[in-house]
Amino acid sequence: MNKSCCPPQRDQTTAEPPSCCSSKSAAASCCPPTVDRERPGYRLQAYVSDWLQTPIGEIPQVATTLTASDRRGALQMRWGMGRDHYTVAPGLYAVGHPQAEAPVLVSANYKLSFDALRKELREIDAWILVIDTKGINVWCAAGKGTFGTAEITRRVKSANLSKVVNHRRLILPQLGAPGVAAHKVAAGCGFKIVYGPVRARDLPAFLQAECKATAAMRRVSFTTWERLILTPVELMMMTKVSAWILLGLVLLGGIGPAVFSLHGIWSRGLVAAAVYLAGLVAGAVVTPVLLPWVPGTALALKGCLVGLATALIPCGIFVNQLGMLHSFALILALSAVASYCAMNFTGSTTYTSPSGVGKEMRVAIPLQALAVLLAGISWFWGTFSTRL
């Protein structure tokens, strides 16, 4: 081998550090890139740390530590940015150095799910079978059936899993169960399903205990933190409709005794917009965070109460400026908006049933609509009567 300045090929080992290529400016030096995995049109994913030889060829080995870019991606997902295409290619991956007897963990191809799994697998040798859930997390995909019997059966076959492992067992996240019929997967591809814990962080203990989960590992939780991190997406999902509502409110504020005035936009329109935003935050952020402590069973009622409490603050501070009719409008509107937003949070909770949500909505929606109508009447009545 000629004595060049370049580091050795990756399958050779040497104790000596490369001479000229350790700097970050390798691209400008004499050396080719150290990554020998580049293919035209493909990009090597940062979570792939190595490649393992298996009976079916090379399988990517994934890292078990998250990088700054993984955390940045997670933050973006929490704010609802680019959630529709934050995916991992479906197929077989390795973590550690799994052999034929190593367990197979099944995961969704939403990268947030995949990251949540791999970061818990330090010191563990396992296979990860990522199935195509259209970039949706395990529980939601199971609800839609995309994390389901058919896709698992298909993926086990297309990944040639039976040639890689010598057992016939798949470990699924428990929350995948709503989409999966274990007996049908067994009939379809010969692999028996074992339901693992709800949370990936319990997997090491679960595997240690020969695939037995404790009762606590089998229960979903809904802690304050778990509720809080769901709220940005709640807000973001409302941005488009909120923008139209805010525009409408500002323009409606201009209508007054002077037919239409910029002063009205300034004094009434912006106040109305602020009331809407306060209702939004009360219902979509404050109510979810304070959920267990707000009285009531229906989320619409909880939101209404938080909205009411929020409305009393400006009504108290500006008691002399607002007048009775405008105060009445503010209280009704803010409570209705908060109630509606809190009701929408039912889709994110871990304990509400669709039957129960339907029940509360049939009562709440007409009341919310009535409150908004009365608020509107009261608002205009107050505007016109003070000037007469």
Partner: protein
């Protein structure tokens, strides 16, 4: 946190239960326990109608009307006359 009483559609037919225990494992709210070799409902009101138990019961002993629980999907379902579906931008 508890939701409404007596509202869920979960039904267990104990005569069909063979005691495989799978429903006690998949339920995220511990609604089932084993009693005298059969699955038994302990706290039906905790059921969130995810459907995991019914899906995984090979003996069709459990039925539940599982579905999407988010309000906007239910409103869409009402407006379009279809089953509520979670097509509100992807991953809700």
């Amino acid at each position: 946190m508890k939701y409404f009483k007596n509202v869920v559609t979960l039904v267990l037919d104990q005569t069909k239960c063979t005691g495989c225990t799978l429903c006690t494992l998949v339920c995220p709210h511990g609604v089932f326990i084993m009693h005298a070799g059969k699955a038994t409902l302990t706290d039906r009101d905790r059921c969130m109608e995810c459907g995991a138990c019914a899906q995984n019961c090979a003996f069709e002993a459990i039925s539940v009307k599982a579905g999407v629980g988010c309000a906007s999907a239910i409103i869409n379902g009402w407006l379009t006359g279809k089953e509520p579906s979670c097509d509100c931008g992807g991953s809700c």
